[in-house]
């Protein structure tokens, strides 16, 4: 029985360039308890709905976070469409899902690169990010932006993608598959990677359920929680959708879930490009949300389920807009996985959850 020591971890720490703080109570190199703290960069973006009308606010939502940029603009638009009962044209729904799934590919590749960097596999890190660059090029080609796309608006999308360009996207993704398979093999079958990830940050299915964790974190523990499964928006057009689930519950499982979700995203884009109907891409949205109207909406972001809530007051300015991001839901799970883990594993452990502090501190 060693002496208990408290080690402050963060807000500047070796995992991510994002400020999250943990008070790690250490006993003999083992973490006994971890107390999380965020809130270092809280920006109060939800309050800005009082300053920008509901059509301009979409540009603020995409600036909440660089990685989840398109997801937030899509989630916001879906919420306002539910609030004002707007029917979105089918082509716009398909295009939204295509961009959203491409965002998932680039987010997961970014995370896989960071993970490789965290366990010291520099080469793998570079290869992941090199591959991610092609997805960013698709974004730039189709919307004009690499990270902030400004593609989604309330009622539809801003730009159309010509059908031959859509087929071009599928060709680029098919071209990525070969190289991605090699990365996949390295992540899932290489002994050095598996040794580093297996058993790190274990969370059982029961714990995952009790702690209400979301996204790949939950799916790695065997919970098949995925909002895409409900077939909202363009996801309803998919012939079949099966969430990627792993039962190992540790860092390896989370890596496996994300790695396979990239392949799933490739397939979703391919299927939707085959099925996409022609037609308008934008529904005219006129007027303002009614007073005392309220709507909720959910979206499966790369990091998990994101919840949106909005309230109208009869003017063009919303009364309240709320984003509950996946990371704020996962922080409790994160502290539990840290209990009993080695001090040296703490950075890797935090990274396997893929925290996005920018989103959390909206």
């Amino acid at each position: 029985m060693g002496k208990r020591t408290v080690i402050p971890f963060g807000p500047q720490h070796p995992v991510l360039p994002e400020p999250v703080h943990f008070d790690l109570v250490i006993e003999d190199e083992k973490v006994v308890e971890a107390i999380p703290q965020v809130g270092f960069i809280h920006r109060g973006l939800e309050k800005l709905v009082e300053k920008r009308d509901y059509q301009s606010f979409v540009y603020i939502t995409e600036r909440i976070c660089g990685i989840c940029s398109f997801g937030h603009s899509l989630g916001y638009s879906q919420t306002i469409e539910a609030l004002m009962e707007v029917e979105v044209p089918p082509r716009a729904e398909y295009l939204r899902v295509i961009w959203h799934e491409l965002s998932r590919v680039h987010s997961h590749l970014l995370w896989m690169g960071l993970l490789a960097d965290a366990f010291g596999f520099e080469n793998l890190f570079m290869q992941c990010w090199r591959l991610r660059e092609r997805v960013l090029d698709i974004f730039e080609q189709t919307t004009g932006g690499r990270v902030i796309l400004s593609a989604c608006n309330v009622g539809g999308v801003n730009q159309d993608i010509a059908n031959e360009d859509l087929r071009g996207i599928v060709q680029v993704l098919d071209g990525m598959r070969g190289e991605y398979d090699q990365l996949l093999k390295t992540f899932l079958r290489d002994r050095s990677v598996a040794n580093r990830l297996s058993g790190v940050g274990y969370l059982s299915e029961q714990q995952a359920k009790e702690l209400c964790v979301v996204g790949p974190f939950a799916r790695a523990s065997g919970l098949a929680e995925d909002v895409r499964n409900f077939g909202y928006g363009g996801y309803g057009a998919l012939a079949a959708f099966e969430p990627v689930v792993s039962t190992s519950g540790d860092g390896y499982g989370r890596c496996e879930v994300r790695a396979l979700e990239v392949l799933q995203a490739f397939d979703i884009v391919k299927e939707l490009v085959d099925k996409i109907p022609d037609g308008p891409i934008d529904a005219k949205v006129k007027g303002a949300p009614e007073a005392a109207s309220a709507a909720v909406s959910r979206l499966e972001q790369p990091r998990g389920e994101c919840f949106y809530y909005s309230k109208g007051n009869g003017t063009k300015f919303l009364e309240r807009f709320r984003i509950r991001t996946p990371t704020s839901q996962n922080i409790a799970g994160m502290t539990i996985t840290l209990q009993g883990c080695d001090l040296a594993d703490v950075p890797l452990n935090i990274l396997t959850i893929d925290p996005c502090i920018s989103c959390t501190e909206r």
């Binding site: 080690i7 809130g39 270092f40 809280h42 702690l211 309240r320 709320r322 509950r324 922080i331």
Partner: protein, 161 residues
């Protein structure tokens, strides 16, 4: 399209309703506050796969509610947030930051009518020099190590699991 289910309840019923969701195995989604002229509207959301239900209640400024973080640990995030931004207090939060969760320059920025904001203004802290001073004070005690300034943990939530 997401289900839009809003159930209006009284704040006194909240704890019993949440316990009923917990016993049925529903997943906790979030707590959202929003400012009303007469107080703060709180929205508790729960989900069980596709079904999603929201409990809506209106509480007075400065009122105190029982915490639900003993049932759903991750509610500590939202209860601390609601306390810091709206001035609604919660009793017995699993990890209680005591108003130090967010670094804010004025108390309860989302609800200017709260009791904390009124105290702040009454203390003559409305001018900018004092606002900057109070920001420094808030940032300082977060440094870990000193036992009395680290957030208190009630009955070790992880141990129960």
């Amino acid at each position: 399209m997401n289900p839009q289910v809003f159930k209006d309840i009284e704040p006194a019923q909240m704890r019993a309703e949440v316990e009923s969701y917990h016993s049925r195995g529903w997943r906790f989604v979030q707590i959202c506050g929003s400012t009303l002229p007469e107080g703060v509207e709180l929205l508790y959301s729960f989900s069980d796969g596709e079904p999603l239900e929201n409990l809506r209640m209106v509480v007075d400024n400065g009122s105190e509610l029982p915490s639900i973080s003993d049932l759903y640990l991750n509610a500590f995030f939202f209860e601390n947030e609601t306390h810091d931004l709206f001035g609604v207090s919660f009793k017995g939060i699993a990890i209680d930051f005591g108003g130090e969760f967010y670094t804010v320059s004025v108390p309860t920025p989302m609800n200017p009518a709260s009791a904390q904001a009124a105290d702040f203004l009454a203390a003559g802290a409305g001018d900018t020099s004092d606002v900057a001073g109070s920001g420094d004070n808030e940032a300082a005690p977060d440094a870990a190590g000193a036992a009395d300034t680290t957030p208190t943990t009630n009955d070790n939530p992880g141990g129960e699991l």
